[in-house]
């Protein structure tokens, strides 16, 4: 582990100033459940670690008139246990509960989950210098890639490890980005950036910026949503494939629908072709199969992850059926 300094800013202004002025590589620490591992193994080499736990105003779930505001330092357990979340956004609750283990949910935060670095085993190996770490190769492309991306890989085949992101994006959430010059609001979907933008990062946060909160719009009349996570074991597992479906159901058909998947692409993956196939037609298994097939036209599986294509259908079916039920 390389030595680093720790800063404990008290306010968001202090935080923004600190991030903008730091001359060393900065790592923001939320719950720290994963960052500490990265620092110890040497995969992350921050000169300055900024502890967000001391910053006032970053935590908490606040119902507002146009929806719900969730501060980034809200712990995952709080999201999973929140009564408003349970009532208005059951798919978000499901996503929170599916994540990691009780111990990790007690410490891990919403912001930490949304900004978690990839779990790609080449990225996590301190001996490997892959493209994400400034090297020239994606080792997964030719190597062991059972857990890697089937969509959107472009020189880097990581998958977005977040469970909350697909659920939040399907619900139309927006992200507030704090900067020294004031806040900026973007759709959460636009918060994530594919490898072709900057292979060393997974989101649009520029130097001096931090994720402040996510805002989930108030549920529409007739809104239905579901989150399905397929994994290998019962708990403490990242998604092989996860599916978040949200929309408005009228007479057994989705009038509006959003489908977002985790575990399949470097970013939370919006399946617009599946949405188009599902929209306005009576839900049936055959329709879901058509939708999955339409979406899978964009898939390019590698040697060991072709089974994820089957799981795209399985997850989509379970989520669509659960949401439409």
């Amino acid at each position: 582990m390389r030595e680093f300094k720790i800063a404990e800013p008290r306010t968001m202004d202090e935080l923004a100033a600190l991030l903008a002025e730091s001359e060393e590589p900065v790592a923001m620490m939320a719950g720290g459940t994963d960052l500490i591992d990265e620092l110890k193994s040497g995969v992350a080499t921050a000169g300055l670690v900024v502890d967000l736990r001391t910053v006032a105003g970053l935590a908490g779930i606040t119902p507002e008139k146009d929806g719900l505001r969730v501060g980034v330092m809200t712990r995952v357990v709080e999201l999973a246990e929140d009564a408003v979340v349970a009532r208005d956004y059951p798919s978000l609750k499901e996503a929170a509960l599916s994540l990691a283990t009780p111990q990790l949910r007690n410490v891990g935060t919403v912001g930490g989950n949304l900004c978690q670095r990839p779990r790609c085993w080449y990225y996590r190996d301190p001996q490997v210098v892959c493209r994400k770490k400034g090297g020239f190769n994606c080792f997964a492309f030719q190597g062991r890639n059972k857990y890697h991306a089937i969509f959107g890989g472009s020189g880097c085949f990581i998958v977005c490890p977040s469970d909350l992101a697909p659920a939040l994006i399907s619900l139309g959430a927006k992200a507030t980005i704090g900067t020294a010059k004031g806040d900026k609001v973007v759709a959460l979907e636009q918060f994530y950036a594919p490898p072709e933008v900057d292979v060393t990062r997974e989101n649009v946060l520029a130097k001096g910026q931090f994720l402040k909160d996510v805002r989930v719009p108030a549920p529409k009349a007739g809104q239905r949503a579901a989150y399905v996570k397929l994994k290998e074991r019962g708990t403490w597992d990242f998604a092989l494939v996860s599916a978040a479906v949200a929309g408005v159901v009228n007479d057994g058909a989705f009038a509006e629908i959003a489908v977002v998947m985790g575990g399949v692409a470097p970013t939370p993956w919006r399946l617009r072709k599946a949405e188009d196939a599902l929209r306005g037609k009576p839900v049936s298994e055959a329709l879901v199969r058509q939708a999955a097939e339409a979406a899978l036209k964009d898939a390019s599986p590698m040697r060991e992850n072709g089974f994820k294509a089957d799981l795209v259908f399985a997850a989509l079916k379970e989520a669509v059926m659960a949401a439409a039920a």
Partner: protein, 767 residues
């Protein structure tokens, strides 16, 4: 037959091998003639009734363990102790051109540094150099300062590629493929010609890593010319002997201590490199040194269960009578030899004709080590899966097929008679407990057409576990009526102290908590390694023997006091009294006082008639699963493990052993797999997040059943081993349940969603 790496260290685990392989080595030998003198008929042996033996007894050290007071090797802190760390090769194959320790030694706080590698390194993770420093941070920094110049060499870590002629040669002394086992009995050509049905299948098992909760570690301290080592080991005597050889000091000058342990599963049977490093650093500096493995180290350099690639052919008559078996296996154990897996096919079922050929494939990966039932676990998966596919081909109940070919002698009913074999009872009680009649009559049929399919499967095990004659234990009686039992065995976490206390208390008319147990020290009387399911059938009879001698002395003393014959003295309620005249009695306290000084009684585990009988343990496991045919996810719903391990000493810890064995087999059957990357030469999942072990949510209700078949010849208590028998058939039973559920055999473990989905595609394609 080739012995495994860990015996080459010459660490005393050869005794484990003697027991574990003593019978296994029969496999490669030509078929043994049935002994000329017929074995005596089994005497009408009835097990005596006991107060504690066979009943559940809580661990006498349970409170210490759960309150954190029990000291594990990692907890040991000695005055002036330094921290040692080992630098490991990042390359799978390289020439070490030079090692420069000077920059590390120049760092303040660093006390010593050693070069450990010379010439070639053959796997990523192999030790190259070591340092000792005042603390972990300093030691880590020092490692980073060591300058090693490597000249990288071609390597191969993919065992299938290693078989190709173009693959780099891993070892200088031999080609990458080497025959490790062959065996023939009868005439398989003739056998297959007589068969009505022939089934040929290939089954594969992956690389399973031991990953004990407590990683390997040692603390070494020199007191003058005497070395004391605290080591996380399954074998204090073996490590002592190994250290003496490695350091060129007399064995009498080495003491190895292991008080508590967080598991080993076979990876801690021998002397470890880090122990030698700790001892050498400590000797050089003159201060104690602790070296602990990190989790990553445990994933790359202290062994794993080797893979297997088993191709079987079986021939049977229409009625299920087996007529021929053949097995061709390729194992891979990295730079060391893999396991031979043939024992189940050679032994379990009655079959006159059998042919086996096994090879190991060398790769640039750390050597494998014995892992909980080495060879048998892989072999049981292959053989038992084959039996179910044969049953389907014959349209027969898989359990009936097994019963049809039941053997009472080893080597497929052609060798020595089993002293006892309670497998039939295991089948009967296990089938009843799982509800065998609920299974699908044919694989994949009769359980609906939804996404969830259910099935039930069975698998059989055979293992050794007879114990080692010559194991020693002392019972020491004190004049104040306290009792100590001393034995140089060790507790891996299975409850050794408690079973010893149970046997001593039972024999001496005391309670288990009255007994002070001293184990885990190589200065104590000799006991074998705790591997091969040896501990209880070696140690318990030795304790029993010593305690019986102690009782004899106590009765003689009581007889003198009571002025009766020793034969007239009975022991009950902490009192000795006269059988003839119950009014004559004397309490324990007074008789013990008559000893006048502490008095040791030496016990020894006696021999058994191995020239006339085979001594084995058996089991039948039953699993019920549900499989989601769209997600490929397998869930085990219910599990029954019926074991014939002779007389059970402590039912509570025995049940824990079974639950642990089943859990480990479930985990290996569904999740666990070390994944190597040929591009980097490294393990890609050297941690507990990506190397997936079953979590509590994955474990179903597990019902252990002990059939309690009493073996009067094996030892003075009729006990056999249990640790490995509980592990042997568990992956296989689950695989067969999955087959029963979905109608296609996955044929490879772990049965991940990917493999289940691939098997279903194979079914769709109709192959």
């Amino acid at each position: 037959m080739q012995k495994k790496d860990f015996t080459d260290i010459g660490d005393g685990s050869s005794l484990y091998m003697e027991e574990a392989r003593g019978q296994a080595t029969r496999a490669p030998r030509p078929a043994q003639a049935v002994p000329s003198k017929p074995a005596a008929a089994l005497p009408e042996a009835k097990a005596p009734e006991y107060k504690y033996i066979g009943k559940p007894t809580r661990r006498i050290d349970g409170r210490e363990i759960v309150t954190g007071r029990a000291k594990y090797t990692q907890d040991i802190k000695l005055r002036g102790m330094l921290i040692g760390k080992i630098l490991r090769s990042p390359h799978a194959a390289a020439e070490v051109v030079s090692i420069d320790l000077a920059p590390a030694l120049a760092l303040p706080g660093v006390h010593a540094a050693l070069k450990l590698a010379e010439g070639k390194v053959r796997y990523a993770g192999q030790q190259v150099a070591a340092v000792a420093a005042v603390d972990e941070r300093t030691a880590e920094k020092a490692l980073a300062l060591i300058k090693v110049e490597y000249k990288t060499l071609p390597y191969v870590v993919d065992w299938e590629r290693a078989r190709e002629a173009s693959a780099p040669q891993v070892r200088d002394d031999k080609p990458n493929v080497e025959k490790i086992n062959e065996y023939v009995r009868g005439d398989i050509e003739k056998g297959f010609a007589e068969a009505d049905v022939v089934v040929e299948r290939t089954y594969r098992t992956g690389f399973e890593v031991h990953h004990p909760t407590e990683t390997h570690g040692s603390v070494a301290s020199w007191e003058g010319d005497h070395l004391v080592v605290y080591d996380s080991t399954q074998n204090v005597h073996g490590v002592r002997d190994g250290l003496a050889r490695a350091l060129k000091v007399p064995a009498a000058n080495v003491t190895v201590i292991k008080n508590y342990m967080g598991g080993g599963f076979g990876s801690k049977l021998g002397l470890n490199e880090q122990t030698v490093v700790a001892a050498n650093l400590a000797r050089e500096i003159g201060r104690p040194v602790k070296v602990l493995n990190a989790r990553r180290d445990n994933a790359v350099c202290v062994g794993y269960r080797p893979s297997s690639h088993q191709t079987y052919k079986v021939g049977a008559k229409k009625d299920g009578t087996l007529v021929a078996f053949s097995l061709l296996n390729y194992a891979s154990g990295g730079v060391g030899a893999g396991d031979d897996v043939a024992e189940p096919v050679v032994d379990v079922y009655k079959c006159p004709n059998c042919k086996v050929e096994e090879h190991t494939v060398y790769t640039n990966v750390g050597g494998s080590r014995a892992m909980r039932a080495p060879g048998h676990t892989q072999g049981a998966f292959g053989l038992e899966s084959l039996m179910d596919e044969l049953a389907a081909a014959l349209d027969m109940d898989p359990l009936e097929l097994r019963k049809k070919n039941y053997s009472t002698k080893n080597l497929g009913d052609t060798g020595l008679p089993y002293s006892t074999k309670g497998l039939d009872k295991c089948y009967e009680l296990g089938a009843k407990a799982i509800g065998w009649e609920r299974r699908n009559r044919r694989p994949g049929e009769g359980n609906g057409s939804g996404t969830i399919r259910r099935g039930i499967g069975v698998a059989t095990s055979i293992w050794f576990g007879a114990g080692v004659p010559g194991t020693l234990a002392d019972v020491v009686l004190y004049p104040d009526a306290s009792v100590e039992v001393v034995c140089g065995t060790q507790d891996l976490g299975t409850g050794t102290r408690t079973h010893m206390a149970v046997v001593a208390a039972e024999t001496l008319g005391l309670e288990p908590n009255d007994i002070t147990i001293k184990i885990g020290n190589s200065d104590y009387p000799w006991a074998p390694s705790s591997g091969g399911s040896l501990t209880t059938p070696s140690v318990a009879p030795a304790v029993r023997d010593a305690a019986l001698k102690a009782v004899e002395r106590l009765k003689a003393l009581a007889a003198a006091r009571l002025e009766v014959d020793a034969g007239d003295v009975v022991m009950a309620d902490r009192t000795f009294s006269s059988k003839g005249d119950p009014a004559k009695s004397v309490p324990f306290a007074e008789v013990y006082r008559d000893l006048r000084r502490e008095t040791p009684f030496h016990g020894e585990r006696s021999g058994m008639p191995r020239d006339q009988y085979a001594f084995n343990t058996f089991g039948a496991h039953f699993a019920e699963v549900e499989v989601n045919v769209e997600t490929g996810r397998v869930r085990v719903l219910k599990y029954v493990a019926a074991q014939d391990s002779g007389r059970i000493v402590n039912k509570l810890t025995a049940e824990s052993q079974v639950v642990g064995g089943v859990t480990q087999g479930l985990s290996a059957g569904l999740f666990e797999e070390r994944i190597m990357d040929d591009a980097t030469g490294n393990v890609v999942n050297p941690n507990l997040r990506d190397y997936k072990i079953a979590t509590s949510l994955d474990i179903p209700e597990i019902t252990p059943i002990f059939v309690d078949v009493f073996d009067p010849r094996i030892n003075n208590l009729g006990v056999k081993g249990l640790g490995e028998p509980a592990r042997v058939p568990s992956s296989a039973a689950i695989a067969n349940a999955v087959y029963n559920a979905i109608g296609v055999h996955v044929r490879e473990i772990p049965m991940t969603p990917k493999r289940v989905l691939e098997a279903l595609k194979r079914k769709e394609a109709g192959s």
